[in-house]
C-alpha cells in the first residue's frame, strides 16, 4: 500500500463536493431566481375555470319577464369511454349516420384528446332532448348532458329592442380588452343586450382547479380557498308595454316600417316596433348560425332596427314644428292667413310647389288640412326675417330650434345604432352651392319636410312628446331602473328634463288645436277613437330608391289624450302608397286605443285591426330581390356569392357607422356639384330611408318636382 496515494482522498472529496455545489447552484437558479418555470407550471397544472353567472332578466312595465334564461343541454362525449356503445341507436336519435358519427368523434379526439369531455352536439333541440333523456343510460358514461343557460323570450316579441347575444369575435375582443372576455364567450350584440351588457353579464366567478397531464380537471386547488363566486347579472325594468309591442308587431306584419310609442311624462318607450322583425327565440338555439345568415341576407332587413337606424324625410309631420318656430319668431300669428291658389309661388313661377286644397287658411286650418303653401310662406318669413343679418345666421337660428326639438343629432336612446338624421346647415349649403349663392328657394321643400331634412322614427315620436308636454321632454329610453342600483350611471341622463327653448303654452295650444283638427275632421281621421281626444299629424313622404321614385311612405304621428297626454306615438309604413292617413293613422289609432283603454273590444274596431293585420304592403322590389337570391342560391353555392361580392361579410353585429358614409356622400355631392353645374339650382341630395347596400349607389341628384303634401 503506497503511502503517497493517501493525499488522493482529498482530491476525491473535492470532486464530490464540487459537483454537489454545481448542482446546488443550478437548483438555486432554477428554483429561486428564475420565475419562468413557476409560470409554466401554473399554465399547465392549474386551470382558471370561469363560472358564468345567469344574465340579468328584463321586465316590461307590468313586471312581465320579456327576456329571461332557460337551460338547454349540450351532449357531451368522452371518446375513450366509447367502447361497447350502441352507436346505431344514438345516431338514430341524433339524426345522423354512423359515418358522420365517426368523423365527428375523430375530429373531437384531434381537437381535445381522448380523455377530455367535449361537446358532441351543442344546444339540443327539445325533441332530441326528450328522446335522449329516455335512453341516455345506455350511452353513459361516454355521453352525458350538460346544461347551459340560454336566453329566451317568453313573449317572442320586441326582438329589435332587446337584441341578441352571440359569441364574441376577435374584433370584439380587440375593442374590449381587459374586460374579462375570452373567445367563446357570449356578449350582447344588439339592442338592450348590447347597451346594458355590463349590467346584464353579472360578475363572473373563478374557480381554480388542478389539471393533470391529459388536461382533465382533477380537484379544486386548496379546496376552493382562492375561488370567487359568480354574481348574477342585474335585472332591468323597462317601460316597454309588451302587449302594446305585440299588437304593434301584429299590425306591422307584411309591411316595412316602424312604430314608436313614448310615454311623454317619463320619456319611457312603450313600444318600439320595427317591421319586418324576427322571432327572437330563433336566434338562441342550435340553428342560430344558419338562421342568422338567412335573416342577414333578407332584403327586407329584419335585423335592422328601423326605429333608430332608418331615416326618412318627415314629410308633413314637420309642419307642426314649422308652426312652432313661426309663432315663436313672431313672423306669423295664429290668425295669419295665406291663400293657396294651387301652388306656392314665393320662388317665382318656374317650379311651383303644389297644394291641394284651394282657399285661404289660418294656422290651425293650415295644420288640419296640411297646406303646403302656408308653411312654405312661414319658413320663408323665418329665413328671410330682416332681424338676422344674412341667410346663414337665419338658417342657423332655425337649426337651433330643430336641434332643440331633438332633430339632427342622436337623442341618446339606450338602444344602439341610433342615427343622427339630418337638419340642413348653412355650412352644408355653402359647400354645395358656394357661399352666398343660395337662398330659401334652394331648399324650400324643407319647409314641408322634404329634401335635406331626415329624421328617425324615434325622433318624430320624441318630437310629439315634446309638443304634447308643451315644451319639454325626457330623452327617450327603454330602461327605467336597474335592480340593485345603477352602478355605472347609465340612467342619469334619462332623468333630466330637457327644455330647449321657452315657448309659451299659448303657441302650443294653437298647434294642438290644429293637430286635433287633423284627427277630428282633417287628413288623419282614420286615427279617431271614441271618447279620446287625439292630436295628430299625417305625412305622405315622397322617396326614391336607386334614383327611382317609389310609392310614398305613409306617416302618422300624434299624442293622446290632448289633456295630460299619456302616449306620444308615430308610425311609418314604407312605400305603402296613398296618403299618410290611409294606413299609418288607423294603426296609430288602434295602438292608442289599446294603450289607453287597455283592450280593443268593439267589433268594428277588431275587424279594422284584422283587416290591417292582413294587409300586405311589402314593396314588390323586396320580392324581386328575394327571388333573385333564391335562384342564385339554387344555381350556385354561397362561395359564388362571396366571389361576386353579393354577400359582403356576415358579421354578428348590425352596427352601421353612418357618419363615415355621410362623409362619403358629402364628398360625392361636392363632386357632382362641380361636374354638372346646371342652372337647376335646386338639385338636391336625397337620402333614402334604409338599405345598407344601396348607400353607395345612392342617386344623389334627385330633383323634387311637383309635391303633393297631406
Amino acid at each position: 500500500m503506497p503511502v503517497y496515494n493517501e493525499s488522493r482522498k482529498n482530491i476525491i472529496r473535492l470532486i464530490f463536493i464540487a459537483l454537489f455545489v454545481i448542482i446546488i447552484i443550478r437548483l438555486f437558479t432554477l428554483q429561486v431566481i428564475t420565475s419562468k418555470y413557476k409560470i409554466l407550471a401554473e399554465d399547465q397544472g392549474m386551470f382558471r375555470k370561469v363560472v358564468y353567472p345567469d344574465r340579468g332578466i328584463i321586465y316590461d312595465r307590468k313586471k312581465n319577464a320579456i327576456l329571461q334564461n332557460t337551460n338547454i343541454s349540450d351532449l357531451m362525449v368522452t371518446p375513450n369511454k366509447l367502447k361497447g356503445i350502441d352507436t346505431m341507436e344514438l345516431c338514430k336519435i341524433l339524426d345522423i349516420d354512423t359515418l358522420q358519427f365517426k368523423k365527428k368523434i375523430i375530429e373531437l379526439i384531434i381537437k381535445y384528446g381522448r380523455s377530455r369531455p367535449a361537446v358532441f352536439e351543442a344546444l339540443l333541440s327539445e325533441e332530441k332532448m326528450a328522446k335522449l333523456n329516455e335512453s341516455l343510460y345506455k350511452f353513459a358514461p361516454a355521453f352525458y348532458l350538460q346544461e347551459r343557460s340560454v336566453r329566451s323570450f317568453p313573449f317572442d316579441a320586441a326582438a329589435n329592442v332587446l337584441g341578441y347575444t352571440a359569441e364574441v369575435d376577435t374584433n370584439f375582443l380587440k375593442k374590449h380588452p381587459g374586460e374579462g372576455y375570452v373567445a367563446g364567450d357570449y356578449a350582447g350584440m344588439t339592442g338592450l343586450e348590447r347597451t346594458y351588457e355590463k349590467i346584464l353579464m353579472g360578475q363572473r366567478g373563478i374557480e381554480y382547479w388542478k389539471r393533470d397531464n391529459k388536461n382533465r380537471l382533477t380537484e379544486r386547488l386548496e379546496k376552493g380557498t382562492y375561488d370567487t363566486t359568480a354574481i348574477a347579472g342585474q335585472n332591468l325594468f323597462t317601460s316597454i308595454d309588451i302587449e302594446l309591442q305585440q299588437l304593434g308587431e301584429k299590425l306591422m306584419q307584411n309591411k316595412l316600417g316602424s312604430i314608436v310609442a313614448i310615454d311623454p311624462r317619463t320619456g319611457g318607450i312603450l313600444a318600439m316596433v320595427s317591421a319586418p322583425t324576427y322571432h327572437p327565440n330563433y336566434l338562441t338555439g342550435s340553428e342560430r348560425r344558419k338562421r342568422f345568415s338567412e335573416l342577414f341576407l333578407n332584403p327586407a332587413l329584419p335585423l335592422l332596427n328601423r326605429t333608430v337606424s332608418a331615416t326618412y324625410s318627415p314629410g308633413s309631420t314637420f309642419k307642426t314644428l314649422q308652426a312652432l318656430i313661426g309663432l315663436h319668431e313672431s313672423v306669423i300669428t295664429t290668425d295669419t292667413r295665406f291663400s293657396c291658389s294651387g301652388a306656392f309661388y314665393g320662388c317665382g313661377s318656374g317650379r311651383p310647389m303644389k297644394c291641394l286644397d284651394f282657399g285661404t287658411f289660418d294656422l290651425r286650418n293650415a295644420i288640419t288640412i296640411s297646406d303646403n303653401t302656408y308653411f312654405a310662406n312661414v319658413m320663408q318669413r323665418v329665413i328671410n326675417n330682416p332681424k338676422y343679418p344674412d341667410i346663414d345666421s337665419a338658417l342657423t337660428h332655425w337649426d337651433q330650434y330643430m336641434y332643440g326639438f331633438g332633430l339632427g343629432h342622436r337623442l341618446g336612446v339606450d338602444v344602439p345604432s341610433e342615427k343622427t338624421g339630418n337638419i340642413p346647415t348653412p355650412a352644408y349649403f355653402n359647400k354645395v352651392y358656394g357661399k352666398g349663392k343660395w337662398n330659401f328657394c334652394n331648399f324650400r321643400s324643407v319647409s314641408i319636410g322634404q329634401g335635406e331634412v331626415d329624421v328617425t322614427p324615434l325622433q318624430v315620436a320624441n318630437e310629439m312628446a315634446y309638443i304634447a308636454n308643451k315644451g319639454w321632454y325626457y330623452i327617450p329610453h327603454v330602461v327605467d331602473s336597474i335592480e340593485g342600483g345603477d352602478h355605472f350611471d347609465l340612467l342619469n341622463k334619462y332623468h333630466k328634463k330637457i327644455r330647449p327653448t321657452f315657448i309659451p303654452d299659448s303657441i302650443f295650444e294653437a298647434v294642438h288645436d290644429g293637430m286635433q283638427g287633423v284627427v277630428d275632421r282633417g287628413t288623419g281621421a282614420g286615427a279617431k277613437i271614441k271618447d279620446i281626444v287625439i292630436c295628430g299629424k299625417t305625412g305622405t313622404v315622397e322617396n326614391y330608391y336607386r334614383g327611382v321614385k317609389q310609392q310614398n311612405h305613409s306617416f302618422f304621428c300624434g299624442f293622446a289624450p290632448r289633456d295630460n297626454p299619456r302616449i306620444a306615438i308615430m308610425c311609418v309604413v314604407e312605400n305603402s302608397g296613398h296618403f299618410g292617413g290611409t294606413y299609418a293613422a288607423p294603426i296609430v289609432g288602434l295602438m292608442i286605443e289599446k294603450y289607453l283603454k287597455d283592450s280593443i273590444t268593439d267589433k268594428a274596431r277588431l275587424d279594422r285591426l284584422d283587416q290591417l293585420t292582413k294587409l300586405n304592403l311589402m314593396p314588390p322590389r323586396i320580392f324581386i330581390e328575394l327571388r333573385k337570391q333564391d335562384s342564385m342560391r339554387h344555381s350556385k353555392d354561397s362561395a359564388y356569392l362571396f366571389a361576386k361580392g353579393y354577400i359582403k361579410s356576415i358579421r354578428d353585429t348590425v352596427g352601421i357607422d353612418e357618419d363615415q358614409i355621410d362623409k362619403e356622400e358629402l364628398e360625392k355631392a361636392k363632386k357632382d356639384k362641380s361636374d354638372n353645374d346646371k342652372p337647376e339650382k335646386d338639385t338636391l341630395i336625397k337620402q333614402n330611408a334604409i338599405l345598407l347596400n344601396d348607400k353607395k349607389n345612392n342617386h344623389l341628384a334627385d330633383s323634387i318636382k311637383g309635391k303633393r303634401q297631406h
Binding site: 500500500m1 503506497p2 496515494n5 493517501e6 488522493r8 482522498k9 476525491i12 472529496r13 470532486i15 464530490f16 463536493i17 459537483l19 454537489f20 454545481i22 448542482i23 446546488i24 443550478r26 437548483l27 438555486f28 432554477l30 428554483q31 429561486v32 428564475t34 419562468k36 418555470y37 413557476k38 409554466l40 407550471a41 401554473e42 399547465q44 397544472g45 392549474m46 388542478k210 389539471r211 393533470d212 397531464n213 391529459k214 382533477t218 380537484e219 386547488l221 386548496e222
Partner: protein
C-alpha cells in the same frame, strides 16, 4: 471481545446506517406523493399492495431483513468469494440473452416471478468485490501496467455485455471504478482526460459555442496567471496549457459542430440535444436519406425525451424556495412528469419541498459519500478500502447523473436515484452494497485479504 462480536449491532457505523434509513424514507414519502390522489383510501391501498408506495414499503422491509442477514454473515465470506461471485454475475448477464425480458426496449431483465432482476445492477456489487479482491492481493503491484490493465479488464467486462443489452446508461456506471483505481495509484491522466472529455461534451451540448470558447480562453489565461512562477522555470507548462486550450477549443468550436452537422443525421442530433432539453442549434442541414416514417418515429422519441426534461424542469423550478407543500404540487399531482416515481423521483421532492428540501437531500447524499470516504480511510485492509471507494463512486455517479438529468445538466440516461427511486432491483443493490461495507467496516481492526 469475543462476546461483543456476536452482537449484530456492535461495532457498526451507525452514522452511515442512519443516513441510509433517512434517505430511503424520504424516497418512500416522495413515491407516495407522486401516486397519492385525494380520493384514495389510504389504508386500503397500503394493505392492498397495489400501489407503488405500498410495494416500495414492502421492499424496504425486505431490505431490513437483507441488511440484518448481511450483518450476521462472517466478513471473511466476502473476501473469500469475490471471484466466484464475479463469474456468477457475468453468467447472469449472459443469461439475459437467453431468458431475458424486454422492458423499455432493452433485454436486460430476468423475470424471477415475484420481481424482475437486472443483472447489470447486481453485477456492480460483484465487480466492486472482485476489484477489491484483485487490488488487495499481496502479489498485485498496481504500479505495473499489467496490473492496471487487469483491473481495468475486471471493471469493463460488464460494460461490454451491458452495451450488447442496449443499456448504455448503466454501462457508464462502470467507468466510475476509475475512482477507486485512481485512489490506489492509477495514473491520474486517464481520470483527468476522461472527466474533462465528458465535461466538455456535456457543456458543448448545454451552452452556445461562442460562450464556451470565451470561457475556455478565460480558464486558460487564469491558469497561466496562477502558474506564472512555474512557467518561468519551465516553459513546457505553457505549451501544455496552450495545447490543451487549443484542443478543447477545436473540440468545442469545430469538432462538435462538424459532427452534429455532417456525421449525425438530423434526427440523431435532435435526439442528443433533446436529452438535455434543448433544441438542436445546428439545424441548417439536409435531412439525408432517411425515410420519412422512420424520421417521424425518431423525432417522436426525441420529442418525448425533450418533453421529459422540460416537464422535469418545470416541476422542480416551480417549487420555489420552500416548495408547494406536501401533496400540493400541481405538476406532481397532475402526472405531468413521466417516469416520476423511478428516474424522475427528484422532481417530486423539488416541487413539494423546494430549494430547501433539495439542498437538504443533497447534503444528506454528500454526508453519505463523505462518510464512506472517511470509513474507507480508516481501514487497515486494502480490500475494504477499495470496496468502500467503489461504493462511494457508484453512489456518486448515480446521484450526480440522475439529479443532473432532472435539472437539464446531463442527458437523460436511465439511471436511478440511489435509495429514492421506486423499484426493488435498484433498492436491493444499494442496500447490499452499503451493508456489505458496514459489515466489512465492523471488522476494520482485522486485515482482511
Amino acid at each position: 471481545m469475543y462476546e461483543k462480536r456476536t452482537l449484530v449491532t456492535n461495532n457498526k457505523d451507525w452514522v452511515l446506517i442512519w443516513l441510509y434509513i433517512i434517505i430511503a424514507l424520504i424516497g418512500l414519502v416522495c413515491i407516495f406523493s407522486v401516486e397519492y390522489k385525494v380520493d384514495d383510501d389510504f389504508f386500503k391501498s397500503i394493505i392492498g399492495f397495489k400501489k407503488n408506495y405500498s410495494k416500495q414499503f414492502i421492499y424496504l422491509i425486505v431490505c431490513f431483513v437483507l441488511a440484518t442477514f448481511i450483518l450476521l454473515m462472517d466478513s471473511k465470506f466476502f473476501t473469500a468469494t469475490p471471484n466466484l461471485l464475479y463469474v456468477f454475475g457475468i453468467l447472469l448477464m449472459m443469461a439475459t440473452f437467453v431468458v431475458g425480458k424486454a422492458v423499455n426496449g432493452s433485454r436486460s431483465w430476468i423475470p424471477l416471478g415475484f420481481m424482475n432482476l437486472q443483472p447489470v445492477e447486481t453485477c456492480k456489487i460483484f465487480t466492486a468485490l472482485a476489484l477489491a479482491k484483485y487490488l488487495s492481493r499481496p502479489e498485485t503491484d498496481f504500479t505495473k501496467t499489467k496490473a492496471q490493465l487487469t483491473a481495468s479488464g475486471i471493471c469493463f467486462l460488464p460494460v461490454l455485455f451491458s452495451l450488447l443489452q442496449n443499456e448504455t446508461g448503466l454501462a457508464l456506471v462502470y467507468f466510475t471504478f476509475l475512482l477507486p483505481m485512481y485512489r490506489e495509484g492509477f495514473p491520474p491522466v486517464y481520470l483527468i482526460l476522461g472527466a474533462s472529455l465528458g465535461i466538455l461534451l456535456v457543456v458543448t451540448l448545454l451552452f452556445p459555442t461562442f460562450q464556451l470558447i470565451i470561457a475556455l480562453s478565460a480558464i486558460a489565461l487564469i491558469t497561466s496567471y496562477f502558474l506564472r512562477k512555474k512557467i518561468k522555470r519551465e516553459k513546457a507548462i505553457l505549451v501544455v496549457i496552450a495545447s490543451a486550450w487549443a484542443l478543447s477549443t477545436l473540440f468545442v468550436g469545430v469538432a462538435v459542430p462538424f459532427i452534429f452537422k455532417h456525421v449525425f443525421q438530423k434526427y440523431q442530433a435532435d435526439r442528443i440535444f433533446s436529452m438535455v432539453g434543448r433544441d438542436n442549434p445546428f439545424v441548417e442541414q439536409n435531412t439525408g436519406s432517411i425515410s420519412p416514417t422512420a424520421q417521424i418515429e425518431k423525432t417522436n422519441k426525441a420529442d418525448k425525451e425533450n418533453y421529459n426534461v422540460k416537464q422535469s424542469k418545470i416541476a422542480i423550478g416551480s417549487g420555489g424556495v420552500f416548495g408547494k407543500g406536501f401533496l400540493k404540487g400541481t405538476q406532481t399531482q397532475g402526472d405531468f412528469v413521466p417516469e416520476q416515481h423511478t428516474d424522475f423521483i427528484f422532481t417530486s421532492l423539488g416541487e413539494n419541498f423546494g430549494f430547501v428540501g433539495c439542498t437538504f437531500l443533497m447534503l444528506l447524499y454528500l454526508g453519505l459519500l463523505l462518510r464512506i470516504v472517511f470509513i474507507a480511510e480508516r481501514q487497515r485492509s486494502t480490500f475494504t478500502r477499495v470496496y468502500a471507494y467503489s461504493v462511494a463512486a457508484i453512489i456518486f455517479f448515480h446521484v450526480a447523473i440522475n439529479i443532473c438529468m432532472t435539472i437539464g445538466l446531463a442527458p437523460v440516461i436511465g439511471i436511478t436515484l440511489p435509495l429514492m427511486s421506486y423499484g426493488g432491483s435498484s433498492l436491493f443493490t444499494f442496500t447490499i452494497l452499503i451493508f456489505i461495507l458496514v459489515r466489512l467496516d465492523a471488522d476494520r481492526q482485522m486485515v482482511l485479504r
